[in-house]
Amino acid sequence: MVCIRTWFGDIELHDNEIVRSQGLKADVPALAQRVRQEDFADFDKRVRARLRELAIKLRVVSSEQEYVSLLRAVMLQIAKERIIAAFAQPEARIIQLIDGIDDIDQSINLLSERLSEWCLLRSETSVPEDVLEAFVSSPSAKSALAQEFADSIRRLCDLRQETANAIEGEMRANAPNLSTLAGELLGARLIARAGGLEQLARMPASRIQVMGASNALFKHIKYGSKPPKHGVIFQHPLVRGNRPSNRGKIARILASKIAIAARLDFYSKKVYPELLSQVEKRVVDLQTAGHARTS
């Protein structure tokens, strides 16, 4: 006697003959509910070969064609639900927002360059770093079109600020330890690179350290060039703000702590505010040790 549970009903088979069976109605929402809830066991290949035939015998459907179209309708519904659920994760929002910031930055750079070209047209020989600032007092500001242009850039800058605020909020709520240690934006970038907080939490620190430096890493693995010291982690003030000879060590210390922070955030949700100061202390040790050696 074998009992099998399929998406369309339960069947008891004895010597390949149906002993008892309960087929469901060909109702898409009800069948979808069944697929959603039940944890089906796998069954024998001989039974698997007969699924269409069994569904017809149980009068769930009246033909093979109907079998396929009913199954398809049910699985389309489940597929849509699963996709919506995947995009409703906080990580999905964080990843969208950080990608949005990158897009805005690119647009601001592009338009700013255009605006500085514009200023040159009006025979201004040099355009300083902050184009928007300079633009206000330049002769080009008289042009209405150029004003429009500058306004668009300003709006983009505002949008960037708003997006950054939104990321900070999401990160504080969903990854507090990572936010404290790496900063909200860098933390979000790490989550986006890893593909989610869970993926980041499961990563070894060494991989976090070089995430974003994959070209350099593979060059190292393949051709034996120097390994990269840091990837996106370079943006952290502790890495960037120190002398190059110490950055590799600091990146390693920081990446180890980030791995711990991500795991805390994903698995325990407890907040440990001392993570950053622990890293800072080790950086200070490193700096003083360096000084002692050089003096």
Binding site: D42, V68, A79, I83
Partner: protein, 208 residues
């Protein structure tokens, strides 16, 4: 343009391009009711451009692992009778679902092929096609073949050497993967997909 049948029923050769018959689904080029099938976009198309024996037939039911946005799936659905298309990544699965809504012989499954949760849904299949570019792909193919592939059924497995071991030579990686597959399958052929895909190979295997 001259239309010739390919050795596989349902596949056509227009000049030097492959095509299947059906309505266009993802913005591909069309000619007189034929949908052009670019080997640049589909590894199966690249394989069909080779002098390879690919076990595809009109009445087949196929389990497709790693369906992505469904480009190849849509052409395969023109050739065979039914495709169960498995994809896990929600971003591309969205395109797959959108496409499945318009084709009546694709069943989309948003699941992880490494941990099949579609045991009560997928029937016995004639062919497993796998294009998942993962280090454990041979294992995943075996898991699915043990559950869903009929005796004497075929597997067509695309191996991306770079996803399995970046440091080893592609040839070494292919050999290693074929060895793993030999535990369950009889290998009928291994075909490189150059010049369309670098360091990719297709393994045609048969369940013993």
């Amino acid at each position: 343009m001259k239309v010739r049948p390919h050795q596989i029923p349902g596949v056509f050769v227009l000049d030097r391009q492959l095509a299947t018959k059906g309505k266009p689904l993802y913005g591909e080029g069309t000619f007189d009711g034929y949908r052009l099938w670019s080997p640049q976009r589909s590894k199966l198309a690249a394989l069909l451009m080779k002098p390879a024996h690919v076990p595809l037939a009109p009445e087949q039911v196929v389990l497709y692992l790693g369906a992505a946005s469904g480009t190849t799936v849509s052409h395969l659905a023109d050739i065979v009778s039914l495709v169960y298309a498995v994809e896990f990544a929600p971003r591309v699965a969205r395109d797959l679902v959108h496409l499945s809504e318009r084709v009546d012989n694709i069943v989309p499954l948003i699941s992880d092929a490494a941990h099949p949760d579609y045991g009560a849904i997928v029937e016995l299949v004639d062919l497993i096609y796998q294009d998942i570019a993962q280090p454990r792909q041979a294992e995943i193919a075996a898991t699915n073949a043990e559950l869903f592939l009929r005796p004497q059924g075929y597997a067509c497995i695309i191996i991306k050497a770079r996803s399995i071991d970046v440091t080893a030579k592609p040839k070494t990686v292919f050999k290693r993967e074929v060895k793993k597959l030999e535990q369950l399958f009889e290998i009928e052929g291994v075909y490189g997909l150059e010049p369309f895909y670098k360091a990719h190979a297709a393994v045609i295997a048969r369940l013993a």
